[in-house]
């Protein structure tokens, strides 16, 4: 596609395209609270690229945080870029316009920096697709000083290797502070005249903790496809990339005037992050490991954020977001304060993640004073042995009591999440899941009667990096399907509905979650053969992926189903998420023995590797409390 100016793109968009696409509101921008920066100062132009549709990208709180931070910098502007849906893509192609930003209809290639948000592995083809639609060379080696610098961050950046050929630098961990430093470094470099070199810029970026520049390393493989070593191409390159950790969330920017979309989006409410991290230690959960340690925002700060956000947006709902919201230390008084203050105005407070206990149900009842929609719980497994193995630490009785309590409190719909194919799972554990579902159904029938509805969501376990299960092979597809079908057959009832995902999708997710650099080639091949939007069932075509692997001479099961040995060099070994590999291995051994460990917030430190950081945080807390105490005197 040819390059065009903002003005040209805007004209074509509104004269020839917009009336002919479904949901044109995805492409117009100009929502309330949108920031369009103009001015005489030469500003660094940062595109926040989200490799999915508007409705999805606009729902991520991290995306809003970065938009806010970059735009509040004097020397920078941030604009949003999303993927178009296929009808729009066809028209953009026909009318020859490149991918553009919503704020000023600026072509993606006109930006200085393009930052991708990687929320899951199935968006990787979309990253290539966005570069392509934006007239940007896919390979970082082919992009010169004139092309934008391509950055990626987010949870899937914790294994950056499958995108190593395409991304100039990855940012690992919390982006709040480092994004500012990146912009300043770019600014200095961009003023250095015509002879400035991209390599030199990357070297400067590499000095920042948390930055991983993949082109500074060469990966050597053994005959059997395992990694032999990482070779540094420059001696200054890091041995380990430590993730960025924002210690004090009260001092971190949080957007209090987020964009209010003109059209409905997936999470159309204020999402207020009450804390980051989780120490429950579920062994399958990547988020529970990579977002450690736990850092809370103070209640006072949260009330302030809630107040400003509601005033600035007019939203009718505020969601208290975190990995396990009932674990927030002052959760009941926070909810009480919010409900008392906003309930009369018809503003609802919601809790997205509920622990399985009656305390959580009380919280939910308190927050949804009138609204009685469904409640969702995630027991994940069906026997106490499995519960210990995955360290979920929820007993069957917890679940039954909680469900009974919830139903007595007036709820009529319950949704349960289970994971199939977890390590050490046996058929008796599948029977356990079935028994659990049936027992919940009988409780429902007894308490509620015919109107009780139970929704069961079965998911395939996908081993993820930086978790105690990072070494294990994903369960064979046939067995997974057999288990799904067995459960489905056994739980058939008019009160129960169930769903399970496409197993092929879970396989692909497992491949890319723990893949190495050679997958870049597969990714490109699959993309060229038409793969994109892989997380969407209507787009996903596993046959093409198989073909791509064949072409590249790589084996799907090598990545998905193979168990790794302790001494094997893992593709993500360069990335240090704070939790040590030793701890993860120890946890994996405990899982095999069926031994669970306690949440370190409730008992003692488990020595996961973040002890020093935790110490710093508690010192900081004490100091702050001391300050407050002094003020009170």
């Amino acid at each position: 596609m040819s390059n065009k100016t903002s003005k040209e793109i805007e004209t074509i968009l509104f004269k020839e395209i917009i009336e002919n696409v479904e949901k044109p509101g995805r492409y117009t921008g100009k929502e309330y609270n949108e920031i369009t920066k103009t001015g005489n100062v030469e500003m660094i132009k940062f595109a926040l690229a989200f490799p999915d549709l508007y409705e999805i990208g606009m729902s991520y709180p991290g995306y809003k945080i970065l938009y806010d931070i970059i735009n509040s910098k004097e020397n920078a502007l941030a604009e949003r870029v999303f993927l178009p849906y296929r009808d729009m893509e066809d028209l953009m192609f026909k009318k020859d316009i490149p991918l553009f930003s919503l704020e000023t209809y600026r072509s993606l290639s006109e930006f200085d920096i393009v930052g991708f948000s990687l929320q899951h592995e199935l968006c990787f083809t979309n990253v290539l697709h966005m570069l392509k639609l934006g007239n940007i060379e896919l390979h970082s080696a082919k992009r010169n000083e004139k092309a934008p610098i391509i950055i990626a961050g987010g949870p899937s950046a914790f294994n950056p290797e499958p995108l190593a050929d395409f991304i100039d630098l990855f940012v690992i961990g919390d982006g709040e502070d480092i994004v500012k430093e990146i912009i300043d470094i770019y600014k200095t470099w961009s003023n250095e005249g015509e002879n400035r070199k991209k390599d030199n810029l990357l070297e400067r970026f590499d000095r920042l903790p948390g930055v991983y520049v993949p082109s500074f390393y060469k990966v050597i493989y053994c005959h059997d496809g395992k990694i032999k070593s990482f070779q540094k191409k420059r001696k200054e390159a890091k041995n380990k990339v430590e993730k960025c950790i924002k210690l004090d969330l009260d001092n971190a920017n949080f957007p209090v005037a987020p964009i209010v979309p003109n059209i409905g989006i997936v999470h159309d409410r204020i999402t207020m992050e009450i804390f980051r991290g989780c120490t429950r230690g579920c062994r399958f959960c990547q988020a529970g490991m990579i977002y450690r340690p736990v850092r809370e925002r103070s209640k006072q700060k949260l009330l302030e954020i809630a107040d400003k956000s509601l005033a600035n947006t007019g939203y009718e709902e505020i969601s208290l977001s975190s990995l396990s919201s009932s674990d927030y230390s002052e959760i009941d008084s926070l909810i009480e304060k919010l409900v008392n203050k906003y309930c009369e105005q018809g503003v609802g407070v919601s809790l997205p993640s509920l622990r399985i206990d009656s305390f959580s149900v009380q919280l939910a009842r308190q927050s949804q004073r009138v609204r009685k929609t469904g409640l969702t719980f995630a027991p994940e497994v069906g026997t106490s042995r499995m519960s210990k193995a995955v360290n979920k630490n929820v007993t069957e009785n917890d679940l039954y009591q909680t469900v009974q309590y919830a139903l007595q409190e007036g709820w009529r719909r319950v949704k349960l999440y289970f994971m199939i194919g977890l390590p050490t799972e046996k058929w008796e554990d599948i029977e356990g899941i079935i028994g659990m579902i049936k027992k919940v159904e009988s409780i429902g029938k007894r308490v509620v009667g015919k109107k009780f509805s139970l929704n069961i969501s079965l998911n395939a376990f996908v081993p993820k990096t930086h978790t105690p299960f990072q070494w294990i092979g994903q369960e064979d597809e046939k067995l997974l399907l057999e288990k799904y079908n067995y459960i489905a057959k056994r739980i058939r009832s008019r009160n129960i509905s169930y769903s399970y995902p496409d197993t092929k999708l879970s396989i692909l997710e497992a491949v890319f979650a723990r893949g190495d650099r050679r997958l870049c080639q597969v990714l490109e091949e699959a993309y060229k053969m038409g793969c994109k939007f892989d997380s969407w069932r209507e787009y996903f075509d596993y046959n093409v992926w198989e073909e791509a692997f064949r072409k590249c001479n790589l084996d799907i099961s090598f990545y998905a189903n193979r168990e790794r040995k302790k001494e094997e060099i893992l593709p993500w070994d360069l990335i240090d998420c704070g939790v040590s590999k030793e701890f993860l291995w120890l946890e994996w051994q405990r899982a095999l023995q069926g031994i669970s460990i306690d949440d370190c917030r409730l008992t003692k430190c488990n020595n996961c590797g973040l002890q020093d950081i935790c110490k710093k945080i508690s010192e900081m807390k004490n100091r702050n409390q001391g300050k407050i105490a002094k003020q009170l005197i």
């Binding site: 007019g314 009718e316 105005q345 018809g346 009138v370």
Partner: protein
């Protein structure tokens, strides 16, 4: 006694592409930002007591849409208008706010016809009409169009293609002004006859039945509504 206010607003620019349902949400959020004390509905899911006029088809701007809101207390109309206008998204503007009595509050009783102004681009049209000027010719065509008892077209619905008679929806069609190549015609649509109809469907059918292909819609705007007469 409820405090009911009728709001007249224009919808243009990016908001042309916002559906009726999304506009409802967007408008309520605007009212919340402006701290207008709108009454809440009872029940499980409290909402603002607001009632919107007939839906505007996607892609069409409007100079005057109507909305009734119930407030919990009396407010100065100008104050309501100014407060909202300070906090609207681009494309939305409050034109007028007026307190109304409860018996006037039923919008569907009051709004009978929707009026659209359609700019037709007649470039090249004159070549086809030797004996009369373009305006006369267009007028003759309008008269012929309106003389039809039935105007049957195929309409895309959720249930597939369906045949619809457009004629009962059309109250009137007339030329209002001529400027260069653009003829502005006024279309009056009966909105109480069996649900809504997209005015573009009517205009396209009119164009299709003309004896030339060189005509296209240049712009289309809803001017507002006519009350029941």
């Amino acid at each position: 006694m409820p405090y009911i206010y009728r709001i007249k607003y224009s919808k243009d620019g990016p908001l042309k592409y916002v559906s009726h349902l999304d506009l409802n949400t967007l408008f309520c959020r605007t009212l919340r930002r402006a701290q207008i004390p709108v009454e809440l509905t009872q029940g499980f899911n409290p909402r603002f007591k607001v009632s919107f006029g007939p839906a505007l088809p996607l892609g069409i701007a409007s100079r005057e849409e109507v909305l009734d809101i119930n407030l919990t207390r009396e407010m100065n109309s100008e104050q309501i208008k100014d407060r909202i206008n300070g906090l609207v998204p681009k494309g939305l503007k409050i034109q007028q706010v007026k307190g109304i009595s409860e018996k006037d509050a039923n919008l569907s009783n009051v709004l009978r016809y929707a009026i659209y102004l359609v700019g037709l681009n007649l470039r090249g049209y004159e070549q086809c009409t030797i004996s009369e000027n373009a305006k006369e010719c267009l007028k003759r065509n309008i008269d012929n169009f309106l003389k039809q008892e039935n105007i049957m077209v195929e309409k895309n619905t959720k249930k597939g293609l369906r045949e619809v008679n457009l004629r009962p929806y059309i109250k009137n069609l007339e030329i209002v002004s001529v400027q260069d190549d653009i003829f502005t015609i006024k279309l009056t649509v009966d909105i109480q006859y069996r649900g809504s109809i997209n005015p573009i469907l009517i205009i396209n059918e009119f164009i299709k039945r003309l004896d030339t292909k060189d005509i296209c819609i240049d712009n289309i705007t809803r001017r507002g509504f006519d009350t029941n007469k």
